[in-house]
Structure formats: C-alpha cells, structure tokens
C-alpha cells in the first residue's frame, strides 16, 4: 500500500527537526541556477527584441535627422543628449538594437547552417573528406577572430549583408567541430545502424535519424554564435569598418570615440548606454546558451558533488523498533531499510523494509529483475544514494555500528576500506589516461604510503591474474574480463570486510563470467571477507553463493541458504526465475516466461505484489501483503500459500 502523503510529510518535518542539513526533500523541484539564468537571459533578449521591433514607436526622433543642437547634454527632450550632428542619442540607441540584433542573429544563422552542413558531410561520410574538412576547420579556428574579420571586411567592402557574411565566415568553424563530433556519436547509435540495415538512403537517414538528434545542440550553438557575432559586429563598427550610416551600437561607439567623448563628460550618455546595451545582449545570449546546453545535456544538471542524502534517522527508533541483535560474526545487518525517490508523480518506495544479515566470510547472492530495487539497495548500503533518492528509514549496522548515524566524512573513511563496492559496469569506467597499475595503486594508497601502495598494486594485480607484462597497460588495451579483474583488484586493495559487487558478470562471456566468479570465491577464501553478489542471473550465481536473497518490487521475497532455495524454491517468483532459463544439457522443452512485468513502484498492487503475475494467486493474495514466513530451516518466503503449508 502506498503511504498516505501526510505521513511522509510528517516524517519529513521530523527529519528536518533533527538534521536540517539533510532535509533536501523538495530541493529537486527548485530550478537550477542554470535554468534561472536562462530565464533571465531570455527576458533580456525578449526586451531587446521588443525594443528593436517597436523602435519607431519608442524612439522620439528619427536618428538620422538632426533634432536639436549638437553636443546637447541630456534633457527632457533628449534623454541621452545629442551627438555632434544634433541627432538624438536615445533614438540612435533604440534603432541600434535593430542593426546589432539583426546582424548578430543572421550571422549566427549563416554560421550554423555552414557548420551543420560541414559537420554532416564530414561526420557522416568519414574518410578523407572528413580529414580535409576538419583541417579546414582547424585552420579557421587557429586564426584570431578579430584580425581575420578586419581583413575580410576591408577586402569585401561595407554593408549590412557583407558584415553578416564576413562574421559568419569567421565563426562557423566552432559549431562545425562541435556538431561533427555529435554526428559521429549519433551515427554509432543503433537506430541509425538499423536504418542503414533496412536499406534507407543517406539523405533519409540524415533527415530522419541524425538531424533530430542534433537539434538541441544546434540551438545551443546558434545562441553561442550569436553572442560572438554581436560582439564582432560592434568591434567592426567601432573600428569604422562597417557602413557608418547604419546606426548600430558599434557605430555609436565609433562616432563617440572619434569625437572625443571620452575626454568630456559626454561619455556618460554617449558611450555608456550603447556599451551597456551590448553587454546586456551578450549576457542575454550567454545566459540563454547555458540553460539550453544544460537542457540539451542532462548530465550537466545533476550536480556531481551532491551530498548523499540520509533523512529521518530518528525513524529507525520508531519503526525499526524490533531490532534483532545481530550475531557476533555478522559483518552487515540491514534492518527495515527503506529508500524512496521523489518523482513529479509522487513518492516511489524503491526499497521497502528490507532486512538481512551478511555473516563474515559468506558469499550472499542478491537476485531479481531489473527495476526490483537491487541497485538502489546496493547504493543505499554504502549511503551513496543521489537525489532524488534518499534513505527514508531503517538501519545499516556494519560490525554493529549504525552507518545511518555516521557523518558524511565518517562514511568516506569507511568506503573503500571496511566496505568496498564494485559498481555496475565499472570495468567500462576505468580512467583511460592511467595505467591499470597506477589506478590500483591509487586506491591502495588510501591506507598506505605511495611507495607501499605501488608495491601492493603489483601484488594485487598478480593476485587477480593479470600477468606482469600487462601491468603497464591502459584500460582500452585490455579485454573486458581483464578490466573486470583490475576493478576487483582496486576494490580489495584495502582488505575490506565486505565487498559489494553490482552485476560484476554482466557483459562478459560465459567463460569469462565463470573465471571472474571463481576469482571472487578464491579471494573470499584468502581474505575471509564477505561478498554481496548482485545479479539478475539466478542460476549463474546460485551455484556458487552460500546464501540467496531474492528481491521483487523493493522487497526480499525469499531468503535462505542457496542450496535449499535452488532445490526447493518456495516463492513462486523464485520458481519462475529458475524456470525461465533454458538449460544446456537437460531435456529441450518449452519454457514458461513470467507473464507481465514488474509493477510500477509508484502504485504497487495491493496485497501480495507478485499476485498479478502469479499463476497460483488466490483471493486472499489480492488482499493481504505477506511478510516473510519461515518455511524451512533458515529459509523464508513471503508467500501466503507457503505459510499455509
């Protein structure tokens, strides 16, 4: 059952009272700084655009005609005074927005179109054409903008359109380079490959599959180019290389400068306003650009250093009241652990009251389908949850010490030393610029001097079966199995008491899987550490682990010694998991897949969470949410039908 919202809010208040620093409950809703800046930028640009469009309405005079005495100071008739020809500076400023923004946006558009075409041709065709085009891009980028613009402008002459072309010709290279690398990336996407395999022609693939995935980046690049174009236009005009009859902000500055406005008090109304207008438009574009980039690349959104969140520690006293004392050789005792995620649609309870023990030197398998909460649980055990996830209750006793009550710094002192994690696909996330020896030495140095760590790294690599000749290799030079060995060496470098391995076998071949599995068992025998082996492959890990935990929809549904669970699975889900695998040597028969899919944890089904997929569900199963029952020596299952047996 979903908890009523009042309860969670009450607990929130409680948590906040205890530890306000950790109460980050609704924080995710608050827009990021980038988004706020984006709105600010958009507002500035919109205001400038309105001014430009409504110039004839806003400006009191025609900026081209004299409307007063020359060099008049600001007055009610001339808000910003007049220039040497008696033209109204305020009107010039207003009309200047038209020219500056038009040139900026047109040049940016041209630059983007050129860049996009170059990127598509270079990135998609590849080969020699790519090399040639990218060298041209390099050369263009290597030239300093301003001198190049000046030379081109002097050569091509003056005029609005010429200015646009000149600026675009100089700034197209950056969008071209950025977009080309994105084209390379998109080209490797399988849906692009699929379209090729379906016999689609290149123009179709570019239009349907590649371009749509470049759009966000194109918008970001356009805004960036516009920023530069506005500045370049101003620079050109200031140097007098523009058409002096076009009243742009740069032109105003040019005339102000040539008429020595700097030497008199006139700079305050003749130079400052166009300067500020330029600054505003550049900032407007830049701010908008940041926001668009953040939106286009969601990775920028999650602050990398965001603190792991623990909340409502005080709850463990109330709802985890029945804390069974853990046995003396228990490394980790998890009690009533709850992890929640805040989503726009409500609270998702990804881990819901999970309790188990891991004894010293035991290998425990944690199995279940994806989305059942395995990985969330794993991260929670190390208190590495990221917003919007947080620990909502329960306790985590590592050798009797509740990790939920430790400070962030105390947790850092434990991680990698007492308790160590092999994250999912870690073998693909090794640092590509360090040799494997350096990386193992780095983690070994947590508890040692540099020198000792280097020696230890050597021993560790030998221990995990990497021959001496490969110690100086970089990760990309090693096969997946070898990289996984390196990751294991790093994880055990400080002799942890508990090693948590999240899907360490996924993505490896059968033979390599078997070798890695046996390596883990050997290391357990050597160091006596406990291992929590997280996997979706029950038959694979079931064979080698001591104990099994089967997880479904955020709960442990079956637990026990591996042999008993495999021989006599008591929960229908465990049974279904075992049934779902084709066997290699047994009779070749049709397999029964588990109907349906794991439930949406936003609104898990009432009663037993497995009942919609259970072939044996009764009317009672729809009503009663079964706890774990003892079903045999050391074996528990959360099934009403098993309790009755």
């Amino acid at each position: 059952m979903k908890q009523p919202l009042e309860v969670t809010q009450a607990s929130y208040a409680q948590g906040e009272a205890v530890q306000p620093a950790h109460a980050s409950r609704w924080r995710w809703r608050r827009p990021t700084v980038g988004i706020l800046l984006g709105w600010l930028g958009a507002t500035i640009l919109l205001a400038l655009l309105l001014v430009a469009l409504g110039a004839p309405l806003i400006a009191p005079y025609d900026p081209q005609l004299p409307s007063g005495l020359p060099y008049a100071a600001p007055s009610a008739q001339h808000l910003l005074g007049t220039n040497d020809l008696g033209q109204d500076i305020f009107s010039e400023l207003v009309y200047g927005a038209r020219i500056s923004l038009t040139i900026g946006m047109l040049a940016a558009l041209f630059a983007l179109v050129i860049g996009l075409i170059v990127a598509l041709v270079a990135g998609y065709s590849g080969g020699t054409l790519d090399s040639v085009l990218m060298r041209v891009v390099d050369i263009t980028l290597a030239f300093p903008f301003l001198p190049l613009v000046i030379v081109l402008a002097a050569f091509l002459g003056r005029g609005l359109f010429t200015t646009v072309i000149v600026i675009a010709a100089v700034i197209w290279a950056r969008p071209a380079r950025v977009l080309r690398s994105q084209v390379l990336k998109v080209r490797a996407f399988q849906h692009v490959r699929a379209a090729e395999a379906m016999g689609a022609a290149t123009p179709y693939i570019l239009a349907r599959h590649v371009l749509p995935r470049l759009t966000p980046l194109c918008i970001a690049q356009f805004v960036r180019a516009a920023t530069i174009a506005v500045l370049l236009e101003a620079s050109l005009a200031f140097l007098g290389l523009n058409d002096p009859t076009l009243p742009s902000w740069g032109t105003m500055l040019f005339f102000a400068n040539t008429h020595n406005a700097f030497l008199t008090s006139a700079w305050r109304w003749w130079i400052l306003p166009p300067g500020l207008a330029l600054t505003a438009s550049v900032l407007g574009f830049a701010f908008l650009g940041y926001a668009i980039e953040e939106w286009a690349d969601p990775r920028l959104k999650s602050a990398p250093g965001s603190a792991p969140t623990v909340r409502a520690d005080s709850q463990s006293a109330t709802d985890g009241a029945r804390l069974e004392p853990a046995a003396a050789d228990t490394v980790l005792a998890v009690r009533k652990l709850r992890v929640e995620y805040d989503t726009p649609d409500g609270v998702v309870r990804a881990v819901d009251g999970v309790s188990f023990d891991i004894q010293q030197g035991r290998v425990v398998g944690l199995v279940g389908e994806s989305g059942c909460g395995k990985s969330t649980l794993t991260m929670a055990l190390l208190r590495l949850l990221r917003r919007p996830g947080y620990l909502a209750g329960g306790s985590l006793l590592l050798n009797g010490r509740d990790m939920c009550r430790l400070s962030a710094n105390e947790m850092i002192a434990l991680r990698g030393r007492r308790i160590s994690l092999i994250p999912q696909s870690a073998m693909n996330a090794l640092n590509p610029s360090l040799t494997v020896h350096q990386q193992v030495a780095e983690s070994a140095a947590l508890t040692r001097s540099r020198e000792q760590a280097r020696a230890r790294a050597h021993e560790l690599l030998a221990l995990v079966g990497i021959p001496d000749s490969r110690h100086a290799a970089y990760p990309h030079e090693l096969s997946g199995g070898m990289r996984q060995r390196v990751v294991i060496a790093m994880a055990i470098s400080n002799e942890p008491r508990l090693l948590i391995a999240d899907e360490p076998l996924t993505g490896l071949d059968v033979l390599t899987q078997e070798r890695i599995l046996h390596l883990l068992l050997d290391l357990r025998a050597r160091f006596g550490m406990a291992i929590l082996l997280v996997s979706h492959d029950l038959p694979l890990v079931g064979r080698v682990v001591d104990d099994l935990l089967v997880m479904y929809a955020g709960r442990i549904v079956e637990a026990g010694r591996a042999r008993e669970v495999l021989d006599a699975p008591r929960h229908p889900y465990t049974r279904a998991l075992l049934e779902a695998f084709p066997s290699l040597l047994g009779p070749r028969r049709r397999l029964e897949s588990i109907p349906g899919e794991p439930p949406d944890l936003l609104s898990p089904p009432a009663g037993c969470r497995f009942h919609p997929r259970c072939p044996r569900a009764t009317a009672e199963c729809l009503q009663i949410d079964p706890p774990l029952f003892d079903v045999g020596p050391g074996q528990q299952a959360a099934c009403l039908l098993e309790q009755a047996r």
């Binding site: 399988q190 849906h191 689609a200 749509p212 897949s593």
Partner: protein, 271 residues
C-alpha cells in the same frame, strides 16, 4: 534446400585505426548456408567475429575475400541502390532495445519505417503496423501506436524491434544478442516470438549469442566461432551432446559451473 543466405569462404580483417568506431573483429574463411525458415545460432565469445559475420551477411561490410549470396543474388559489386533494395528484404535486430529505437519517433513510425523506406504511402502503412504489433503480442496495438520508446519497458521495446523486423516480410533476420540485455523473465518471451516468426512467416534467422543454452533453445543448427573462424557447425543437439572441439567442451563446462581449469590461464594471456 534453397539457401536464403550463402557465405562462401568469407574473410575480413580490420586495420586498427586510431579513432575508429567500435572495432570489429576479423573473420577468416567462413562458409555457411542458411535455408528459408531456418534458425542458425552463432555462438562464441566477444571478439570471435560473430557480429562482423552478421554485418557481412547483410552487406553492411564488404568481405575482402569470398562470396555473399542472398537469395540467389551476389551482394559483392552491387550498385548501392540495388544493394539498398536487397537490404529491404533483410533485417538486423540489436542487443540494446534502448538504443536501437529512435527516441524521438512514435512506435507507429518506428514500426512503419521499413515500409516508408520501401516507398509505401502513409495510408498503406497503417494496417500492417497494427498487424505487426499484434504479431509480437503488443495488444491492443492502439495502446502503443502513439507512444514513444522511453514509455515502454525493455521487453516491450525489443518486441517493437521485432515488429519492425517483421513488417517488411524479410527473408533473413540477423539477430545480434537480442536477449542478452533483457531480464531473464523476458528472454523466453522474445525467443518464443522469434521461433513463431520463423514458423508463421518462413523467416530465416542468424541468431548471434554468447550463450550456448539460449542458442540451443531456439536454433535448428549451431555454429561456433572462435578467433574469426567457424570451428563447428551442425545440428544444435549434436553440437552440444557430442562436442567435437575442446573449446566447445570448455564452453559447456563453464555453463555448468565447473571451474575453468589450467587452460583458462592460457586464455587470459591470449586476451
């Protein structure tokens, strides 16, 4: 027996080039035939050349030596327009159902894509799309047509990929590890669908997997690849019950949980 696909002494090597995209493994002197409505499982470790062979079969890679004959047509030297037309009668299914569907297209558009590429007008695509979705048990189709891939689960997406494969009535589908990223509970469903497509529509499959048990479950014949070579090819039961090659015995032992013996260490040095 009329072969849908015939590979004759096909070889391909790749020069290792800095910055080259996903390096493909080499293939050496591979010959095999796939008949209509036959499922051939291709087993081997990563780097054995399975995927390369699959891409060669579809004409996406040109072999350096040997012939690829698809439905009586030699693929080598075909003008690209003609090659594209041949490809419309084949299909490729990928491992990752998250990556193989365009995130910005609706399910209806995705499934209809082969028809669109073949030049069918929009009106003629509607009925086949619903039929294809029904065929892969995404019922009722109206529930899925307007959705985007991210709104579906991994298993459902792989079904969409199968529907897309089915809709063009291909003669041959190369399925590259179509179940290895799926949860165990969903794998069997996909495997059974593949078997059904073969029975109902006579589609031939080249089914690439590293899992011998999965290959046995779904295939008529199994080929085993190692280091670019096809070291065994025969009826599925025979390959497993009477393994002729030490490497196959090793693969079988590994799947049975027997610790890899000293030979394993040798292999580590190799890779």
């Amino acid at each position: 027996m009329t072969a849908v696909l015939e590979l004759r002494d096909v070889s391909k090597s790749f020069a290792r080039r800095a910055g080259a995209q996903a390096a493909l493994a080499a293939v050496r002197d591979v010959s095999m035939q796939i008949a209509a409505a036959e499922i051939v499982g291709l087993v081997g470790e990563s780097g054995a050349g399975k995927s390369t062979l699959g891409r060669i079969a579809l004409g996406l890679e040109q072999p350096e030596a040997g012939h690829v004959v698809f439905d009586g047509v030699h693929l080598a030297g075909l003008p690209s327009r003609e090659l594209r037309r041949q490809r419309q009668r084949m299909h490729l299914i990928f491992q990752d159902p998250y990556d193989s569907l365009h995130p910005g297209m609706r399910i209806a558009e995705i499934v209809a894509e082969p028809l669109r590429i073949a030049g069918l007008p929009p009106a003629a695509r509607v009925a086949p799309v619903s039929e294809a979705l029904l065929e892969v048990d995404l019922t009722p189709p109206t529930r899925y047509l307007r959705r985007f891939p991210h709104e579906l689960s991994g298993g459902q997406r792989q079904r969409v990929a199968l529907a897309r494969a089915l809709i063009g009535q291909p003669r041959l589908v190369v399925a590259d590890e179509p179940t290895s990223m799926l949860d165990v509970s969903l794998r069997v469903g996909i495997l059974d669908l593949i078997a059904r497509m073969r029975t109902r529509h006579g589609v031939a499959f080249l089914f690439i997997t590293h899992d011998l048990a999965v290959a046995r479950y779904v295939s008529d014949r199994i080929g085993v690849m190692r280091a670019g070579q096809l070291i065994a090819l025969g009826p599925a039961e025979q390959i497993i019950a009477q393994p002729q090659h030490a490497y196959i015995r090793q693969l079988i032992a590994a799947s049975q949980g027997i610790p890899p013996e000293a030979a394993a260490l040798e292999h580590i040095k190799e890779d």
